[in-house]
Amino acid sequence: MGILAEFSGPESLKAVAAELRQAGYARFEAYSPYPVHGLYEATGRRRTLLPWLVMLGGTAGCLAAILLQWWTNAVDYPYIISGKPPFSLPANVPIAFELLILFGALAAFGGVMVLCNLPEPYHPLFGCAEFRRASADAFFLSIDAADPLFDLKGTADLLRALGAASAEPYSRPQTERRVPGYVKATIALLLAAALAPPAYIAQVRFSRKSSPRLHLVLDMDFQPKYLPQQHSPLFADGRAMRPPVAGTIAAGAAIDDAHLLRGETGGQPAELFPMPVTMELMERGRREYDIFCATCHGLTGDGDGATSQVVVLEREEPKWIRPLSLHLPTVRSQPAGQLYQTIADGVRTMPSYASQIPVEDRWAIILYIRALQRSREGTLNDVPEELRKQLESIHDDATSYDDQN
């Protein structure tokens, strides 16, 4: 119930709103086809609460995101990803940012719905045919009958006095409208149908079956491929399974050279090398030794490699077992085949290097170890003639230096 009055333009609408407010009216509403600056202020309303709702929503979203990530990543199921701490803020920022925006947007949407009393499928003003022009070319002002100053005749006279082109009462239409039966039936049917999926899920969730419970997407189950022992028209022998190419040998089946591959001769560790010993092999051994062995056993084989130095010197690990010196009598006396087995299979805390060092390289390394061992019992006679003099002069310098001190 109320009165709907039409005015000529935005300026008169503003003026009337201000007048009504001064007269003490509170429950009135202005309608214009486009936003009119100053109209909101003229109606004397407080500024909307919406920004605060959005801020509240945004803050809640941000906090919810951080709480969620903290709970899932750091408390409920701690899981280290990419070496980061379980609770690490930088990783949480994108989610927090997105949820801040999402919750802010939802708060804006919900806030508008609530503050504007939406959804409002029917409003008494819709009964006025004239009112449709409010979104085209007319400026209206309505006063609700619930306003304490409202008086059907007096208010209408006041509006006319203020310049209204018309001031007509409006009210809810008398004819009562009911929802048709077929609409009700359709809604009931849809509701019943909506119950079917959860009912089915509940049924498969709590029953036992040998086949998959619920199998909606079948595309990986039926593939256009041949299974073992199937017939195929593509080949002359009609078999889908293809035999290996003539002369194929299974991996590791053909060559069995006990000496080369296992370092054995006659069931005992081999004393000799399975290949000719050359300077080339020696150089190769030196290179591979420096790569794979020197980190623990040291460049000269004393068992003082980099790992050992780090552990002993920096971490002061008391339980650390030093890598063996290759110059110990027990190591020196080992036949080449036994060294080979150590590299291939590992020994005590040393792991197997079979996956890193190919067979030939293992033997090359052993050759280089032999050279390292031999270097410790060399005499001046082992040094080539032309280098001997140089070595002696170094020796002389060293002794004369010792004498001086």
Binding site: Y34, H37, Y40, M55, S82, G83, P90, V93
Partner: protein
């Protein structure tokens, strides 16, 4: 149709500065030169307190600080034409004047460029002869990072910026008298090309002048980071420019609180954009954790630089975000001016943080040198602004969208 009640009469307002501001310009140049000469005079060879390296780095920070204000202003001008904005017409001339310093700003780049060409730069390690030979990475980057190409690029940037700034100011000023709408159409047609060139030049200028201070390090988003900070600085400078003019009795009616409100909104937006860029850069590097990338942040996360890094996170993003959020703040000249000063200070700290850790990884080199350079270059910048503002309306009087801008209201 939106209707405009133009209650603001431009005739009632002062739109020009005092007839002759030549003494102010001359004084500003003189003071600026003296301050810079003093800074140069107290410079000492490397290894001592106020070393030449520190002088060069301080000069670079100051130089880029004012350059970025002009660049941000140029972006603002081009953007308004690009989107055919109506609201901003009343304040666009301020941005045009700030941007017009780009016409001659290249001269002040010479103290940075000449040492690079002579192979004696204290700033750019890659430019020292022999540096590339010792470093595989620098050798690889050699085709890009070499003094000749560096200089050629700098010339190109200044030509593009100078021409754009000059073009938009000149035609807009011409329109003041003619009121010819064809000028607006012409500027709008030029804006897309100017914007594309602007984006490319700013990105590569940031790569050249800031990122190559640590030549081994790289970040493809770095140009955008510098750009975001520049726009923040320019908007803050425009707010202060407008407030200063109005306090002095110019454009009191033409520039309304609605314009401040919108400049404040843009400032808030670009504060967040800066944070978005800064975090986008940080997040990828932090997550991948590759030494060649993290080294740059490690330098800024150790020792006293930790505090500057944290200070930027709070001072350049979180605190101004909350501070500028409210409508009331953005519609208050005093409060908005406060945040504009705050953001300018933060932008200076941002540039300081980008440049200095390379030269002083274990301390904050803060002293007379910084202030001499900042105030010296600042005086020259001010002289340029006064010079650009002379004999010219501070409002685009002939712009066909001026009425729309005057009638503009926020809801």
């Amino acid at each position: 149709m939106m209707q405009h009640h133009t209650t603001i009469k431009i005739e009632d307002d002062r739109t020009h500065l005092a007839a002759s501001n030549f003494p102010a310009v001359a004084a500003s140049i003189a003071v600026g030169m003296i301050l810079l000469i003093v800074a140069g005079a107290i410079g000492r060879p490397a290894g001592q307190g106020d070393s030449y390296t520190l002088l060069a780095a301080s000069y670079l920070v100051s130089y880029l600080f004012f350059l970025s204000i002009s660049l941000g202003a140029l972006f603002f001008v081009v953007l308004q034409h690009l989107v055919r904005a109506g609201w901003s017409t009343a304040v666009r001339r301020l941005a045009e004047i700030l941007a017009a310093n780009l016409v001659w700003w290249g001269i002040l780049f010479l103290p940075i460029l000449v040492p690079v060409l002579l192979g004696k730069s204290d700033l750019y390690a890659w430019s020292i002869p022999g540096a590339a030979a010792a470093d595989e990475l620098l050798r690889h980057k050699g085709p890009y990072l070499n003094p000749a190409f560096f200089a050629a690029r700098a010339v190109f940037y200044f030509v593009v910026w100078g021409l754009s700034a000059w073009f938009f100011l000149k035609w807009s000023t011409r329109q003041d008298e003619s009121g010819d709408p064809a000028v607006t159409e012409r500027l709008e047609k030029t804006a897309p090309a100017a914007m594309i060139l602007f984006g490319l030049t700013v990105t590569f200028a940031a790569f050249d002048w800031l990122m190559s201070l640590t030549p081994e390090w790289f970040s493809t988003i770095f140009g955008l980071y510098f750009f975001a900070g520049s726009v923040v600085a320019a908007l803050a400078a425009m707010i202060l420019f407008a407030a200063a003019l109005q306090a002095g009795g110019t454009a009191r009616r033409v520039i309304t609180i609605e314009h401040y409100h919108d400049l404040g909104k843009l400032l808030l937006g670009f504060v967040v954009f800066w944070g978005y860029m800064a975090f986008s850069q940080y997040m990828l590097i932090w997550y991948a954790n590759i030494p060649e990338e993290t080294v740059w942040y490690l330098e800024r996360q150790t020792g006293p630089w930790t505090w500057i890094t944290a200070g930027l996170l709070f001072g350049h993003l979180l605190i101004p975000f909350l501070g500028l959020l409210s409508r009331t703040v953005k519609r208050s000249r005093v409060l908005l001016s406060f945040w504009a000063v705050w953001m300018l200070a933060m932008h200076w700290i941002d540039l300081y943080w980008l440049v200095m850790p390379t030269f002083a990884p274990d301390r904050l080199p803060l002293g007379i040198m910084n202030w001499l350079c900042l105030s010296g270059v600042g005086c020259l910048f001010l002289a340029g602004v006064l010079w650009n503002a002379r004999r010219r309306s501070l409002v685009p009087l002939g712009d066909p969208r001026l009425n729309e801008s005057l009638a503009f209201e926020n809801f």
